[in-house]
Amino acid sequence: MRARRLRASLRGWGGVTAMAVVCALVAVFALCVPLSHSDVVDGEAVTQATRVTAEKAEEDCEAPEKQTLSPSSADGDTIKAIKNREGEKRKLIVGVDQNSYRWGYRDPNSGRTAELEGFDIDLVHRIAEDILGDPDAVQFKAIPTDQRIPAIQDGRVDMVVRTMTINCDRIKDVAFSAPYFKTGQQVLAPKSSPIKGYDDTLAGRRICTAAGSTAYSTLEEDQKDGTLPATTDISGTVPNQLDCLVRLQLGEADAVVTDGALAASQAAQDPTVQLKGDAFTAEYYGVAMKKDADDLVRRVNQILVDYREDTANGWQASYGKWLSATLGKDAKKSEPPAPQYRRTT
């Protein structure tokens, strides 16, 4: 009787186990089939989608650095509004960076006040001098990388001069001047690191980028189409590119991807890191302004033409002062191409 009961209970448990096994199998099938299925479909969809957007972008946006207005010194509504600011407020409001060594930063040893200085800041002073007649008639706003476009769109700043790359996505939201600097994305890693450049040596590594930067969007796209190993962790983003150097030094990231010009600035602050491999993109920095501020765009383009031509106090002098130490004496590879003004409206 006892044995029978045992058998009965075993049978009961057997039934339960069998049901559990069946359930598990069904679950596995249910999960696997759509997964493998959707993998194919989604993969196709994704490649198709990227192809479509890429084609569309190419259609709408060929050479984004050329999509700007021809230079002019005429005052329009935007410039008049700036000039009409009264009293203390008669200043150009510019979004800049205070964390980019030799581009826009505060040198704690420069004196008591430690005002902002650098290559970008020189350009800002030049623009303020031209528009308002006073190089110091500027109100600087320090903005994180991903706040550059919202700051312009909300009218918090008149323009952004902050190592900002001209690209197809951004020209939908803001208007750019002609390019004033040439650079490209580059990898920065400790000298002792096995990372050799933008290639398979990045597999399984953690890359740090600034949120909302071209570096991040490039990595994202490259990982989708397989140029960048899928095992590379690109999820670590920070508000400013310089914060990446902190993460790198603390061992919270294995490499940094940012514009070569900025990567060189980082390397200049830490002799144990270096640029790995060549730049893997070609990019141009431009001054960003509100989409409809046509007169301001034309004016800045005019200023840039003059700035390039001014050898004593212009682009070349500023390069020599701030960047030759980190990017090399020869400014050739950083010089922007001769500007083209293809935008008409």
């Binding site: 040198d107 704690p108 040893n109 005002e115 706003k141 903005i143 918090r156 150097l245 902190v246």
Partner: protein, 475 residues
């Protein structure tokens, strides 16, 4: 003279008279295992015996004596137990939970102030000044000391201990980041500022919330200790009243039966029970009044002042961050867009004003009121200077705005320091008041437990002796 027993049964041995009835049962039960009747319990047997005993006068006297002794002993025991509990809680309020709650507030204050000092150093642009460095170091030291103290005073498995351990882990991490920031700053590299930002993030997002959490937990513990120390010991009081009523009844019964007015033992028992009951009620009432006073005039003021101090610290931190971020972060409220840090600054200042108003109301003497009133004046001046500084910043005069916030003369920093100093004075004053009141309360309970226990034993002995004397008359 002696009242004759009313029962007819023979006085001695009545208790055992019932027993012989039981052994008679077994022979008639050869039916196997099934028992017709369950075995009688000891309790049922005891009740039977008592019932039998109650039929004779000496038996009744024995029962009455036992009940009286039991009541008096129970009264003493419950009094001792309940008052030990309350005295312990009162002691905890004074020596452990209140100091720890103050310590937790100090930990928060030191951390926030250290962070503000570090970021002010960065704000100044150049190298940090000796003043800001000293301030930072002093605060870090205070925080570390208080953390050690808090760790030593918390139960190892309590949630407070976890928070303290977390803070102990984060503090050196934070300090490390600030040290790196200093080094890079000295070399003139902006990555120093990036380290400081990272340190600030760690402080704002992990350390300060943990410190605030600790402060809240310690405050809860303080409230719990108060809740344990102040309720009336109803069980003890009820037992005391019951014991006295029983003693009165027993004496009245004695009087009715023997016409004797005084039975020494019972009178002694009544006297001790009365003393214990009075001591209990009066002692506890005084203690309760002292503790309530210490809560109303000490702890509540202390809490409001601590909250005010934290609000002023947060406001100061936000004021500095407004200048560090330079308008980078904005916040949309309804239709209006505000600078995120300035918005928070104004919210904290509003909170500070409310806390100071409460503190002014709670302050019950001039020496408590004076520093609070002074702090209100500092706050008003702070707001005025802040508005002027904001105006400069909004006009693009960053350096001037900076000078008006962290400068050495007529800056908002001065106002903040004065608010902090005045609040410190007010806190010290309220702490003394708290200690006095709570000390008085705790002292009112001194010896109550032990005294109640000793007196109860004496009282019980008296009751037993008194009844024994009556009983001996039957021999």
């Amino acid at each position: 003279m002696t009242h004759l027993p009313t029962s007819s049964a023979p006085p001695p041995g009545t208790g055992t008279a019932v027993l012989p009835a039981q052994p008679a049962q077994p022979p008639q039960a050869p039916q196997g295992r099934a028992e017709p009747q369950p075995r009688r319990t000891a309790f049922a047997e005891g009740v039977d015996r008592l019932r039998a005993a109650a039929t004779t006068e000496p038996g009744r006297l024995r029962i009455i004596g036992a009940v009286l002794a039991l009541l008096v002993v129970a009264f003493g025991a419950v009094t001792a137990w309940q008052m030990t509990e309350r005295a312990d809680a009162a002691d905890d309020v004074l020596t452990s939970s209140q100091p720890l709650s103050s310590d937790a507030a100090d930990i928060y204050r030191s951390l926030a102030d250290a962070n503000t000092a570090a970021s002010s150093g960065f704000l100044a642009g150049g190298q940090e000044t000796a003043t800001s460095r000293d301030r930072y170091e002093k605060n870090i030291r205070t925080a570390a000391e208080k953390l050690v103290n808090a760790a030593a005073n918390s139960d190892p498995d309590s949630p407070s201990a976890t928070t303290i351990a977390e803070l102990n882990r984060l503090l050196p991490e934070y300090k490390g980041l600030v040290e790196r920031a200093r080094t890079y700053n000295r070399q003139g590299f902006p990555v120093g500022g990036a380290y400081l930002r990272y340190a600030n993030e760690k402080m704002q997002q992990q350390m300060l919330p943990a410190a605030e959490d600790l402060y809240k937990k310690e405050n809860q513990r303080l409230r719990a200790d108060y809740a344990d120390a102040t309720p009336y010991p109803w069980a003890a009081i009820a037992l005391g009243v019951a014991a006295l009523a029983a003693l009165a009844w027993a004496q009245h019964r004695n009087y009715r039966r023997t016409n004797r007015v005084l039975n020494h033992g019972l009178v002694a028992a009544t006297a001790t029970a009365t003393v214990v009951l009075l001591w209990l009620v009066v002692g506890h009432s005084i203690a309760r009044a002292g503790l309530n006073d210490s809560y109303d005039h000490g702890v509540r003021s202390l809490n409001v002042l601590h909250d005010a101090r934290l609000a002023s610290l947060k406001a100061r931190g936000n004021e500095n961050l407004t200048l560090v971020a330079r308008g980078a972060e904005t916040k949309k409220v309804g239709e209006e867009t505000y600078d995120a840090y300035d918005y928070d600054f104004r919210a904290e200042m509003k909170a500070l004003a409310a806390y100071l108003e409460d503190a002014e109301k709670l302050a019950d003497d001039t020496s408590g009121e004076r520093p609070v009133t002074a702090a209100v004046g500092n706050m008003t001046e702070w707001k005025k200077r802040h508005t002027a500084a904001r105006e400069q910043d909004e006009n693009g005069n960053y350096q001037r705005a900076l000078g008006m916030v962290i400068g050495t003369k007529d800056a908002t920093g001065e106002c903040f320091d004065s608010v902090d100093e005045n609040l410190r004075t007010a806190l010290a004053h309220e702490e003394t008041e708290f200690k006095q009141a709570a000390d008085d309360g705790r002292d009112a309970l001194t010896g109550l437990s032990a005294g109640a226990a000793v007196l109860a034993v004496l009282g019980a002995a008296g009751a037993v002796l008194g009844m024994g004397r009556r009983l001996s008359e039957y021999r």
